[in-house]
C-alpha cells in the first residue's frame, strides 16, 4: 500500500516539473516580454527599464531565470504582483480558497444529484425513464457552461431577483447563509455538466455490477432488494466513479474559471483571466501553476482513494 502511494507521488513530481517548464516557456512568449507592463507606461525611460530588468533578474540566461523562479515557487516567495504591488502569494491565497469552495460545492451538488439519478435510471428500466434520463444527460453535456450561467444569471437574478448577481458576499452582511445564497447559482451551473456525465456513468456501472454473480448470491440468500442494492451493489458500482471524479477534476478547474467570470466569483480562475488582461505575469504564472497543481493533486487523491477503497489494488 505504501509502495503504491510512494510510486504515485514519485510520478507526480516530474509531471509538476514539466508543467512548470511549459508555463515558464509560455509566459516568455508574451509579446513585449515580461516587462510589458512597465514598458507600457510613458513615464518609464529606457534607463529605468534597464534597472528594472537587472533587479528582476531578466538579463540572466533563460535557464537561470527558470531555476530561480522554480526555487522561489517552492519556497513560497512568489514575487510581487505587477498590478497590485503586493506579494503574489497574498493576492492569490484568498482566491484559491474561494475557488476550492466553489469547486467543492459543485462536487457535492453534482454527486448528490447524479448518484441517485444514475441508480434510479439503472433500476427502473421502463422506456420513459430511460428516454428522459438519456436526453437530460445529453443536454447537460451539450449546453455551454457560460451560456447556462449567463441565462440563469439574467433570468433568476436580474429578472426574478432570487439570487444575487455575483460576488461572494453582500457588503455589510456575511455569514454562512449569505455565502450559501451566493454560491448556489454558480455551483449549480458548474455542476450541471458533471451531473449529466456522472449519472450516465453511475448508471452503466450499476448495470454492470447488478449483472454480477455475487448479486445473484445475495438475492439467493434472501436479502431484501434494498439491502442487496445498498450493501453490495452500490459500493462496487461507486469504485470507478471515484477515479472518474478525480480525473475530471482537471476539467472542473477550467470550467470553474468560466463560471467565476460569469458570476464574478472572486476565485483563482477569474484572477488568471484578469492577470492576463493586466499583463500581470507573476500572478499569471503563479495562478497557472496553482491550477495545474490542483489538477495533479486531484488525480493523486483519486488514485489514493481508489487504492483505499479497492483492496485488490493494494496487492499490486
Amino acid at each position: 500500500m505504501r509502495n503504491y502511494l510512494v510510486r504515485q507521488l514519485l510520478q507526480a513530481i516530474p509531471t509538476l516539473l514539466a508543467v512548470s517548464v511549459v508555463i515558464f516557456a509560455i509566459i516568455h512568449l508574451a509579446p513585449g516580454g515580461p516587462m510589458a507592463a512597465y514598458a507600457m507606461s510613458p513615464n518609464v525611460d529606457q534607463a529605468e527599464l534597464d534597472r528594472i530588468a537587472i533587479r528582476l533578474g531578466l538579463n540572466d540566461p533563460l535557464p537561470v531565470q527558470y531555476v530561480k523562479w522554480l526555487k522561489s515557487m517552492i519556497t513560497g516567495d512568489w514575487g510581487l504582483s505587477y498590478k497590485f504591488g503586493r506579494p503574489v502569494f497574498e493576492v492569490l491565497r484568498s482566491r484559491i480558497m474561494n475557488s476550492i469552495q466553489l469547486a467543492l460545492a459543485s462536487l457535492v451538488i453534482a454527486g448528490a444529484i447524479s448518484i441517485p439519478f444514475g441508480i434510479f435510471s439503472a433500476l427502473y428500466r421502463n422506456r420513459l425513464v430511460q428516454y428522459l434520463s438519456n436526453t437530460v444527460a445529453m443536454l447537460g453535456v451539450s449546453i455551454p457552461t457560460f451560456w447556462l450561467g449567463l441565462v440563469i444569471l439574467l433570468y433568476l437574478s436580474v429578472k426574478m431577483r432570487l439570487v444575487p448577481t455575483g460576488g461572494m458576499m453582500t457588503i455589510g452582511k456575511g455569514g454562512p447563509w449569505d455565502r450559501l445564497h451566493h454560491i448556489i447559482a454558480p455551483a449549480s451551473v458548474l455542476a450541471t455538466l458533471y451531473i449529466a456525465a456522472w449519472s450516465r456513468f453511475v448508471r452503466s456501472s450499476m448495470l454492470e455490477v447488478i449483472g454480477q454473480d455475487y448479486i445473484t448470491t445475495a438475492r439467493g440468500k434472501g436479502l431484501a432488494e434494498r439491502a442487496v442494492i445498498v450493501r453490495h451493489a452500490l459500493k462496487n458500482a461507486l469504485l470507478p466513479f471515484i477515479t472518474l471524479v478525480g480525473l475530471q477534476g482537471g476539467g472542473l478547474i477550467g470550467g470553474a474559471m468560466i463560471t467565476e467570470v460569469v458570476f464574478a466569483w472572486p476565485g483563482m480562475g477569474r484572477m488568471l483571466a484578469e492577470s492576463l488582461t493586466n499583463r500581470d505575469y507573476p500572478v499569471l504564472m503563479a495562478a497557472f501553476m496553482m491550477m495545474s497543481v490542483l489538477v495533479i493533486l486531484g488525480n493523486l487523491v483519486a488514485d489514493i482513494l481508489y487504492a483505499v477503497v479497492d483492496p485488490r489494488i493494494k496487492l499490486e
Partner: protein, 298 residues
C-alpha cells in the same frame, strides 16, 4: 410460468438477433431515433453554413441605424447593439463553428492516432516518454492554456484551430494507445510479423483498421468539444474577435443589453447547444452501432 423462460414483457425488451442476417453499421445506426434526429439537424446546420450568402439578406458586419430592434419583417431576429442583423450574424457564425469543429477534430485525430499508435505499438521508452507528455498536457486545464496562448499568439481562425488541435490530441492518443496495446498481441498481428511484414505495414494495414470504430466516435465527439471550446474562448475574449461573428462572442454584449433585448442572450447559446446536442446524438449512435460489431470481427 416455467422457470427459465421469459415473460412477454421481458421478451420485448431483449433484442434477439435475427438468425442468418447481420445488420450493417448504417442499419444499426438508423434504428437509433435520436441519432437520426441529430444527423438531420446537423446536416441542416452545415447546409445553412455553406449556403450562408444565399440565406442571408444582410452582410453580418453591416451596421444600420436600428439598434437593438425587435424582430420585424426586415430583420427576422432583430438587430444587435450596433445595428447588425442578428439572423445573418448567427448564420455566418455557424460557418466559424462548423469549420473550427471539423478542422480541430481532424487535426486531433491525425495527431492523436499517430502518437497513440507509435506509443502502443513500440512500447518501452518511447511509450513512457509519450505517456509523460500526455500526462503533462492533461494536467494543464485546457481553456486557461488556450486563453493564454491566444493572448500571446494571434487569435485568427487558423491559430485558434491550431491551438485547440494541439491541446486536444492527448485524449484520443490514450484511447488509440490502449487499443494498440491489446491488438498487437492478437493472432493476426503476430501472423503478420511472422510473415515478415514491416512495422509500418502492420500498423497501417492490420492494426489501425481495427481501431476505426473508437476513432470515428472520438472524431465525432471531438467536433462537439471543439465547438464548445471555441465558443468559451470567444466569450472570454481570446477566441474569434469581434466584429467577426461567432456564437461565443455574440454573447459578450448580451449581459449589458439584457434589459432592452433579452432574447439576444438566448439565440447564440441555443444554437451552440443545438449543434452540440445533435453531434452528441450522432456520436452516441455511432458508438452503439460500431461497438458490438467490431468486437465480433476480431
Amino acid at each position: 410460468m416455467a422457470q427459465g423462460t421469459l415473460t412477454r414483457t421481458q421478451m420485448s425488451e431483449v433484442e434477439l438477433p435475427v438468425p442468418g442476417r447481420r445488420r450493417s453499421v448504417w442499419q444499426e445506426f438508423a434504428r437509433n431515433r435520436l441519432a437520426i434526429i441529430g444527423l438531420v439537424i446537423f446536416i441542416l446546420l452545415v447546409g445553412g453554413a455553406v449556403a450562408a450568402p444565399v440565406l442571408t439578406s444582410y452582410d453580418p458586419n453591416a451596421v444600420t441605424y436600428k439598434f437593438l430592434a425587435r424582430p420585424s419583417r426586415e430583420h427576422w431576429l432583430g438587430t444587435d447593439d450596433v445595428g447588425r442583423d442578428v439572423l445573418s450574424r448567427l448564420i455566418y457564425a455557424s460557418r466559424i463553428s462548423v469549420t473550427i469543429g471539423v478542422s480541430v477534430s481532424l487535426i486531433t485525430i491525425c495527431l492523436g492516432t499517430l502518437v497513440g499508435a507509435i506509443a502502443g505499438y513500440y512500447g518501452g521508452r518511447l511509450d513512457a516518454f509519450i505517456c509523460a507528455a500526455v500526462n503533462l498536457l492533461l494536467s494543464i486545464p485546457l481553456i486557461p492554456l488556450a486563453m493564454v496562448l491566444g493572448a500571446f499568439l494571434k487569435t485568427n481562425l487558423q491559430f485558434i484551430i491550431m491551438i485547440l488541435g494541439l491541446l486536444s490530441w492527448p485524449g484520443i492518443a490514450r484511447i488509440i494507445r490502449a487499443e494498440f496495446l491489446s491488438l498487437k498481441e492478437r493472432e493476426f498481428a503476430l501472423a503478420a510479423r511472422v510473415v515478415g511484414a514491416s512495422d509500418w505495414r502492420i500498423i497501417l494495414r492490420h492494426i489501425l483498421p481495427n481501431t476505426v470504430g473508437p476513432m470515428i466516435v472520438a472524431a465525432t465527439l471531438g467536433v462537439a468539444s471543439a465547438i464548445l471550446a471555441e465558443s468559451a474562448l470567444s466569450y472570454l475574449g481570446y477566441g474569434i474577435q469581434p466584429p467577426t461573428a461567432s456564437w461565443g462572442n455574440m454573447l459578450i454584449n448580451a449581459q449589458r443589453f439584457f434589459r432592452t433585448y433579452p432574447a439576444l442572450a438566448i439565440y447564440p447559446g441555443a444554437l451552440i447547444s443545438l449543434t452540440v446536442v445533435s453531434i452528441n446524438f450522432i456520436g452516441d449512435g455511432l458508438r452503439d452501432a460500431l461497438d458490438p460489431r467490431l468486437r465480433t470481427q476480431g
